[in-house]
Amino acid sequence: MEIEQLEKVASQVRRDIVRMVHGCQSGHPGGSLGCTELLVALYFERLKLKEQDGKPVFDMNGTDEDLFFLSNGHISPVWYSVLARRGYFPVAELATFRKLDSRLQGHPTTHEHLEGIRIASGSLGQGLSVALGAAMAKKLNNDKGHVYVLMGDGEQQEGQVWEAAGFAPHHEVDNLIAFIDLNGQQIDGPTVKVMNNRDLGKKYEAFGWEVISIEEGNDMAAVLKGLYEAKSRLGHGRPILILLHTGMGFGVDFMMGSHKWHGVAPNDEQLAAALGQLEETLGDY
């Protein structure tokens, strides 16, 4: 897909995000908006997905395809929107987000059998371990697919992340690309103030990872280029980490760069202001 087309998808995904969160008056718009370019680039361009008649076909084992895991499950709105827009389930279902009897739970789950989701996430720090297990299963199965996993930067404060970070290079899990969404914000404030992660890249390097930085994580071309580079380095005995610099709330001016929109829904007026900044490209659900 051309960059202009991917940007159009991203604009629609952002509309979906703010509308979903507004629709149930809860959820996490900030991190979702910040990771929009990454998820659109992955699902519409970079991931090798199983398809039939141009539509993705979901099976839990994900044999012979690339897998994506979302460890920071609270940014479910962006994932749900991208999965629906990619064709995993009906776009109309986005309207059920966080409502009773919905498959679109507040945090992603396999429990409701939503296509595209392979593990529950939300309690932080677990996704890297799960992704590593899936990557090792691929190796055992001689499956050439790759595994991608996104984590938050605040999430790096969880101890389990570092158990997994030590495990991956030791076992030479070199069919996996992990991302850290470096938006510098967490619920209680800027990450440097709440619990300074300090030199995450150097830490991962010291653990034995190959570390790549995407400085403009909300620039589609930069994200595509970074993903391409990361993929080219797979298969050389080391796991890959991408430090993805994003802006929390990117794309909606009054939500940008502040932790205040981590987990707050816009009111009617704010929704209108947000939608005024985001072009409707694929039709609202």
Partner: protein, 317 residues
């Protein structure tokens, strides 16, 4: 009354190791994971024959549970192994989210459960694991009684699709069940039929219950003894059928009296058939260092304690 004899004593963890050895040869999807306790879990035969299907996790139990959940996504059947304390309490949230809620086909296999871990003391003697695991929706909880049954259970859970907690232990105890038994998950095993009191025992306490049955018989009391190797799903039918006949109950487990087998049985009785019940279990306390025999005596988990409990239960009828 059926007499049970034995010619050798073995640890249930070795039954697990023997079961894994068989699985290594029979099921190419079985993968073993361990958190730096390979010798304690008796995994050497499996690892020797299947080095590519063993994943050493180091002392990182939370990661081990997540890895196991991820391995199922490629169709593998992971057996995550460590001491029971580190396999449950330490990683409860990982099991809850990545295994139980996600309904992953992970087998959590836990050795050194309960007081009989012995000298290491209370930090390692988990007495709450059955309760924690049975509270998780969809989790199957199994606590076999000897070497042979543990081996059979290990092989059986690989065939079953879904998360399982398999609990076993360190001490050598009599091997008294059939070496060729077929383990049926959720199906209680009638050890001895009787009419005066139902003794429902699990794990190491089954042998104690058998001895208690003989002691009771010498006093003219006819005890029915049932091995509840599967705590969840519980064989309610077997429990109720027995209680209809005997009218009173003793439950015996190497676990805190809160939240274990006794409470599961009590729930069945409260709902379907009120009957006096006496608990043989640890009385809401931590353990301590000592030999297994000393600890079972001090914390009230011997055949003698089951006999006393049976008499109390009968007196309350």
């Amino acid at each position: 009354m059926k007499k049970y004899t034995f010619t050798e004593k073995k640890d249930t963890r070795s039954g697990f190791g023997a079961g894994m050895h068989v699985l290594g040869q029979q099921n190419p999807n079985v993968v073993a994971l361990c958190a730096d306790l390979v010798g304690s879990l008796k995994l050497e035969p499996f690892i020797k024959e299947n080095p590519e299907r063993f994943i050493q996790c180091g002392i990182s139990e939370a990661n081990m549970i997540g890895l196991s959940a991820g391995l199922t996504i490629g169709g593998k059947i992971p057996f995550a192994t460590t001491f029971a304390n580190f396999a449950t309490g330490r990683v409860y949230d990982q099991i809850r989210q990545s295994v139980a809620y996600s309904n992953k086909n992970v087998k959590i296999c836990a050795s050194h459960a309960g007081l009989t871990l012995g000298e290491d003391g209370a930090t390692h003697q988990i007495l709450e694991d059955l309760g924690m695991m049975k509270m998780l929706p969809g989790m199957t909880v199994i606590n076999p009684c000897d070497f042979n049954q543990t081996k059979a259970a290990t092989i059986a859970i690989a065939e079953y699709e879904g998360p399982v907690y398999l609990r076993f232990g360190r001490p050598v105890i009599p091997v008294f069940t059939d070496p060729d038994q077929k383990f049926e998950i959720g199906k209680a095993w009638m050890v001895n039929e009787g009419t005066d009191v139902s003794i429902f025992a699990t794990g190491h306490m089954v042998w104690e219950a058998i001895q208690a049955g003989e002691m009771l018989e010498a006093e003219g009391i006819n005890a029915e003894i049932i091995n509840i190797h599967t705590i969840k799903p519980l064989d309610e039918e077997a429990i109720l059928k027995s209680v209809e006949k005997t009218g009173c109950v003793v439950t015996a487990e190497e676990h805190n009296r809160i939240g274990g087998l006794g409470d599961s049985v009590a729930q069945v009785l409260v709902k379907h058939k009120l009957a006096p019940q006496e608990y043989v279990a640890v009385n809401d306390s931590f353990g301590e260092s000592g030999t297994p025999a000393q600890l079972l005596e001090k914390y009230g988990l011997t055949a003698k304690h089951i006999v006393e409990a049976a008499k109390r239960a009968i007196a309350r009828k």
